[in-house]
């Protein structure tokens, strides 16, 4: 459960002490954005776009055992955060490599689905976060804040339909997982990951390294 931050005195020393006591919660952050739904809202009614959003959200969350890791949905975008502790406890998808392989397969299955108009295509950004805290400013809510969450959102600007953008930090985690099972980067979907790109994001002092994986 998230640490609830709520102090009415803006200068509260107690608040500072409380914030200092909150430990980081390292883990993997995903932003998944569903494409084309805005267009649909202008061309069709709720039964049309609502059905496709329902189908696509189910495809993403239920099939990948993610429901409890969805932090929030904002319009047609969802944010997932899987703390390392929770990842280790999962029965089936419990490594970074498996996370990437499953999200790749999800985007691939949706993009190549033989029947049109059942699902909507997606774009994804993924980052491994260390500077992240499980806090909320709103009673009863769950949320994660930190500069690495912001960076995951920034990485989404480099994604397009059917593309997964992964930070170099996450890529390294995946690569280590493969090394642990005596595999190299030519294994599975990692063989399709691009070389390294550099991006400058507003508010981020250093350049960010990232790679892309086309799943269409």
């Amino acid at each position: 459960m998230a640490f609830y931050v709520h102090f009415t005195d803006p200068h509260s020393e107690e608040m500072v002490d409380y914030l200092r006591s909150i430990p980081p919660s390292p883990g993997t952050c995903f932003f998944i954005d569903i494409n084309r739904s805005t267009d649909l809202k202008y061309t069709g009614g709720l039964p049309d776009w609502g059905r496709k959003l329902n189908n696509t959200f189910n495809f993403i969350s239920l099939l990948n055992d993610f429901p409890e890791n969805i932090v929030k949905g904002i319009g047609d975008e969802i944010m997932l955060f899987i703390p390392d502790e929770a990842l280790k406890k999962k029965q089936t998808i419990n490594t970074y490599y498996q996370l990437l392989e499953e999200i790749y397969s999800t985007v691939h299955n949706i993009s190549g689905f033989p029947i049109p108009d059942m699902f909507l295509p997606c774009k994804v950004s993924i980052h491994y976060c260390t500077e992240v805290y499980n806090i909320t400013f709103f009673k009863g809510a769950n949320d994660y804040y930190g500069k690495d969450i912001d960076l995951t959102a920034r990485l989404m600007t480099k994604s397009i339909e059917n593309r997964i953008v992964l930070s170099e930090t996450f890529y390294e985690k995946v690569r280590t997982d493969l090394q642990n099972i005596d595999k190299k980067t030519d294994y599975g979907c990692l063989s399709k990951v691009s070389g390294k790109f550099l991006a400058t994001f507003r508010g981020v002092p250093k350049n960010t390294e990232y790679r892309v994986l086309e799943a269409g």
């Binding site: 099939l63 499953e102 689905f113 033989p114 599975g188």
Partner: protein
């Protein structure tokens, strides 16, 4: 996961036993592609002993369906457990695969 195969008339029946996920999908992919490449394009996948399938497993089944359809063959599934049936429904796969209640019915249809 264990994979079995047997001939039934002019079709091949492939059984999948256990969980199909990222840890083993490549084994199934290799097996199915070998069979298709060797001309086994009437294929029935028996899922009576499959107890879990992830997105990567679904991807391989979809790939096999596409390959066999392109080769003008027939691809079907049979004997899905309830939890697998639910996954296939959510993913829309019940709309694209021929699914039979048991192996006999599947072989007969192929």
């Amino acid at each position: 996961m264990e994979i079995t195969e047997k001939k039934a008339g002019n079709c091949i029946v492939v059984g999948i036993d256990g969980r199909l996920d990222t840890t083993n999908y490549s084994v199934l992919e290799k097996k199915l592609m070998e069979l298709i490449d060797s001309g086994d394009i009437k294929m029935l996948i028996n899922l009576s002993k499959m107890d879990y399938v992830s997105s990567s497993g679904l991807r391989i089944l979809l790939m096999a369906l596409k390959r066999i359809t392109m080769a003008k063959g027939k691809f079907a599934l049979c004997s899905l457990q309830d939890n697998i049936k639910e996954i296939f429904e959510i993913s829309g796969f019940t709309n694209i695969f021929e699914i039979y209640p048991n192996e006999e019915a599947g072989i007969k249809a192929l």
